[in-house]
């Protein structure tokens, strides 16, 4: 779990738009776009990234996240819009600062360690470019290798290292030059599961320690959730939503985000004066809380399987927090056990509405059983 308190969730800014009130953002992407011929890879992207923030670009393959990262790095020039660093435009459709002049370092999916140089030489390269003297270089390289726990392997060549060790060399090489911005392109996708977790923690730790601004591109939501202060979800070149991990989970703004982060149930409804009418049941507007008054027309709701409680019809519960819960009768249709949880498909009330419900391992129900569902309308997110 994150040990870092996200700084931005307190700010009074419209959530999910990417704008930050107050201080100068480290990076700003304004109306950023990129096409390749007829194909639009990135479309009208607006995002501000604060100093010292750890933000992920998350989305399925082909969503434009890597293109965006490469535009930030300077390997691709924007077709539209601008990129600003500390309020200075560094890239636009007309001009672009070359990568070597941006003060950002990128770590590649393949690590891109130079096979003909030793670990120490790889790490020292950036320092040599900055014309430090030999003694200083040696000192900083040693410190860095110690920080990533590779000092014993300084004289080895990349071919002699394991995947995780190579990853660490890539990290060391990038961080030793103390970049203002660190860009990571799917750095963990080549590692196996255990290593992935270990390196995830490592990356966050180094981010904290060296106080960089980090942008991580990944398709793995667990990775993004576990490391980032905020996550920018992209789909088909567009930014769907930018928010803290919890907000994304609990309050997805679009169908795509709701479906992408974890799994969810979608419920269609129509609003009339007093109620929100679903298929087979309805819920009074007040039960949704203050926002219930704003609903109109046709609305789709997202309801997480984990936020539905299930109990046998006979059990009666009454706790203070559950007062706002709805209790609805349902019938279990399917049951599947996944080792750490049950997943049930239930049919709700009289209509055809089906819901997935996730329960703890000891909450066993059989198919065909009549149950009661506890649903909290305040946890139902209205999506586009």
């Amino acid at each position: 779990m994150m040990s870092n308190t996200p700084k931005v969730s307190d700010r009074a800014a419209p959530p999910g738009s990417g704008a930050i009130a107050g201080e100068v953002p480290r990076l700003a992407l304004r109306a950023l776009g990129r096409s390749f011929g007829d194909e639009i890879a990135v479309d009208d992207l607006n995002l501000e990234i604060a100093r010292g923030e750890f933000i992920s670009l998350l989305g399925p393959s082909g969503c434009g996240k890597t293109t965006t990262l490469r535009m930030i790095a300077g390997f691709v020039q924007p077709s539209a819009g601008v990129i600003e660093k500390d309020r200075v435009i560094i890239a636009s459709a007309k001009r672009a600062l070359p990568p070597e002049k941006r003060g950002m370092v990128m770590i590649f999916q393949s690590y891109a360690l130079w096979p003909h140089k030793t670990v120490a030489e790889n790490v020292a390269f950036g320092l040599r470019l900055r014309k430090l003297d030999d003694a200083a270089i040696r000192r900083r390289v040693t410190e860095m290798l110690q920080a990533v726990k590779l000092d014993a392997l300084a004289g080895r060549y990349p071919a002699e290292l394991s995947g995780g060790q190579q990853q660490r060399v890539a990290l060391a090489r990038a961080i030793v030059v103390e970049p203002a911005v660190l860009l990571l392109d799917e750095p963990l996708s080549n590692l196996d599961a255990n290593l992935r977790e270990e390196m995830r923690v490592e990356i966050r730790r180094l981010h904290n320690k060296f106080k960089m601004t980090t942008i991580l591109v990944t398709h793995d939501q667990a990775e993004a959730m576990a490391t980032s202060d905020r996550i920018a979800i992209m789909n088909k070149g567009k930014l769907e939503q930018v928010d803290t991990p919890l907000a994304l989970y609990a309050w997805p703004k679009t169908r795509f985000v709701a479906n992408f982060i974890g799994r969810t149930n979608f419920l269609e409804a129509r609003c009339d004066d007093t109620d929100v009418v679903f298929d087979g049941f309805s819920i009074a507007r007040e039960q949704f809380g203050p926002r219930g008054l704003e609903f109109s027309g046709h609305v789709t709701f997202s309801l997480r399987p984990q936020s539905i409680g299930m109990a046998r019809r006979q059990v009666v519960r009454a706790t203070a927090s559950e007062e706002t819960f709805l209790r609805m009768p349902a019938t279990v249709l399917e049951a599947a056990f996944f080792g750490e949880y049950w997943e049930y498909v239930v049919s709700l009330g009289a209509g055809a509405q089906r819901l997935r419900v996730v329960c703890r391992p000891n909450e066993t129900f059989d198919a065909g059983q009549q149950v009661l569902l506890d649903v909290d309308p305040r946890q139902m997110a209205a999506v586009a």
Binding site: T67, G74, P98, E100, A112, W114, F125, L129
Partner: protein, 573 residues
């Protein structure tokens, strides 16, 4: 490393259009483009224009003259016939070898490899001279042996014939086919053949019905190279073809340079060869487009269990025969002549001498020729490699707009037969404003242009293996594009650059057809001396010089293999 792979498509590895530019980088690329335009585009353009010029202005007269005589057209036709026949024979000879190498455990593979390298190293016109000694109809050793053994009146072979010419040329084209086919075979998944075998097909059946069609593209590529090379050959046809009354276009071109010199007609006459070459290369590209032959899935490990031991020994014997014919006999002949007072006399003590080598050593002409050849080859190899890597990099990394055009330009001289290239350089640079006639410079320029495709191909394949991310990592850390080339590309390509250099050196040091037109008194080469010596009947001296040439080439090859750590002909690793 792939010496002989001539790629036509370049996959752009990575989206890259952000400029890494600075003034220095811009100047570097400008000079590369300028150099390429100067030595490749300009001579070709000049040649075409030249073919349309006369004293009175632009005209078609040269073409009318060049194609107005039956004899000239006959020579062109003969060249095509010669090319086709040589390709066919070379393919037939090489296929069993290649198959044996890639698909069986035949014995003696290292020896055969070395032998093939030797075959590659021997220039065909030098071998032709040796083959006169071996298969002259009355006095050739093979024929004399036959007459002795069988009591026949006449010899078995007459090397002064179309058949003799084709045979000798084909022998020395075998390495090219071998490389392409064995490379193609190793790319074919063994699973396809295994499937056929499980269904009941025997060794030969599998080889003919499954393997052969699958390597057809590779065979075609090899055939193409051999064909294009053969139709432009000059040395072998002049030694063997002339006495056989078989005139080819390359020799015919020389006639246009006799009195009265009609260099413009020569230019016009040489362009059909260029057209044929372009057509063939285009055909290759079209056929390549339908790439359904590559095994998309499946292991590509070589299946070497295709033949029984008996077959393996037959293959071995066959390989030894080929090597004997291509390397052992000719070199033995040359050695005997080189150490003889008079090569017509038998091998007795009184006839043995090192006087020929002494004469070479003390002859200013020979010394100059050897020095010239070494210098020209080294300079041309260096220039070709430098230009090749620059062009390959510009194309692969798209360093500036339209940089892709450097690819076809770098490969352009493949389409120009050597002798035509010589004429085009003559027309482009020998007169004002360059006045490079008779200098070493013009030969170096011509060789650089001629062998640039080999250097370029070597670099392209090397570059393809280097991920762009390795360079992006440099730039991400603050280095410029030039820095990434210096610190990443060049060190990683060292072996490809070296093998490219060696290849060009070997080809350049024995080159004849270009040099014939461009050499002046001060810039004669070993190849010209060889031709002169053989022409004046001094075969002993020619053989001695030939051995010197072989020795130099072998030294370079062996040194190169020691540094590279592997066989120069191998395409793997």
């Amino acid at each position: 490393m792939t010496i002989f792979q001539i790629p036509f498509r370049h996959s752009a590895s990575g989206i890259q259009d952000a400029k890494g530019g600075s003034l220095a980088t811009g100047l570097v690329w400008a000079s590369v483009v300028g150099a390429l335009a100067f030595i490749v585009v300009y001579p070709i353009v000049k040649l075409v224009i030249f073919s349309f010029t006369a004293r009175t202005g632009l005209t078609f007269d040269n073409y009318l003259y060049a194609f107005g005589r039956a004899r000239y057209l006959q020579a062109l036709w003969n060249s095509l016939l010669y090319g086709a026949a040589t390709t066919l024979v070379a393919t037939l000879l090489a296929l069993p070898l290649a198959w044996g190498f890639a698909r069986t455990r035949m014995p003696g593979k290292p020896l055969i490899r070395a032998g093939l390298l030797g075959t590659f190293v021997i220039p065909s016109y030098l071998a032709a001279i040796a083959w006169i000694l071996l298969a002259g109809p009355n006095a050739g050793w093979i024929n004399r042996a036959w007459m002795f053994l069988s009591g026949a009146e006449n010899g078995l072979f007459n090397v002064y014939s179309f058949g003799g010419l084709v045979f000798v040329s084909a022998l020395y084209a075998i390495p090219y086919i071998f490389i392409y086919v064995s490379d193609g075979l190793s790319a074919v998944s063994s699973e396809m053949e295994d499937a056929a075998r499980m269904l009941g097909a025997g060794t030969i059946g599998v080889a003919v019905k499954i393997t052969l069609p699958l390597v057809a593209p590779a065979i075609f590529n090899g055939c193409l190279i051999v064909f294009l090379d053969t139709i432009a050959l000059f040395g072998t046809p002049i030694v063997l073809g002339l006495p056989a009354h078989f005139n080819v276009a390359a020799v015919q071109l020389l006639e246009f340079f006799e009195y009265p010199v009609r260099a413009e007609a020569a230019a016009a006459y040489s362009l059909p060869l260029v057209a044929i070459t372009c057509l063939a290369l285009w055909l290759q590209r079209v056929l390549r487009g339908r790439r359904s032959y590559e095994s998309v899935t499946g292991r590509t490990s070589a299946n070497v269990g295709a033949a029984s031991p008996a077959v393996q020994w037959i293959l071995f014997a066959y390989a030894m025969l080929i090597l004997a014919l291509a390397v052992v006999f000719p070199v033995a002949c040359l050695a005997k002549a080189a150490f003889s007072v008079a090569w017509g006399r038998p091998l007795i003590m009184a006839n043995l001498t090192i006087a020929n080598f002494n004469e070479l050593w003390s002859s200013g002409d020979a010394q100059r020729g050897i020095t010239n050849s070494l210098a020209i080859a080294a300079l041309a190899a260096s220039a070709a490699v430098v230009l090749g890597i620059c062009a390959a990099y510009a194309v692969a990394r798209r360093t500036f707009p339209m940089s892709g055009v450097l690819g076809p330009i770098s490969l352009g001289t493949l389409a120009i037969p050597g002798i035509t290239l010589g004429i085009s350089f003559y027309s482009a640079f020998s007169t004002a404003p360059f006045r490079l006639y008779g200098t070493i410079t013009i030969i170096v320029l011509a060789f650089t242009a001629r062998f640039l495709p080999m250097a370029y191909g070597s670099c392209v394949s090397g570059l393809a293996a280097i991920s762009t991310q390795l360079e992006e990592a440099v730039r991400s850390l603050g280095g410029s594009q030039l820095t990434s080339v210096r610190h990443v590309i060049v060190p990683l390509l060292r072996k490809h650059l070296l093998s490219g250099w060696i290849l060009v050196f070997i080809l350049a040091i024995r080159e004849l057809s270009v040099v014939v037109f461009l050499a002046g008194p001060g810039s004669r080469t070993i190849s010209m001396l060889l031709l002169d010596y053989s022409e004046s009947g001094n075969l002993e001296l020619a053989a001695a010089l030939g051995l010197v040439l072989l020795a130099i080439t072998l030294m370079v090859v062996v040194a190169g293999q020691a540094v590279l750590g592997r066989d120069l002909l191998s395409r793997s690793q």
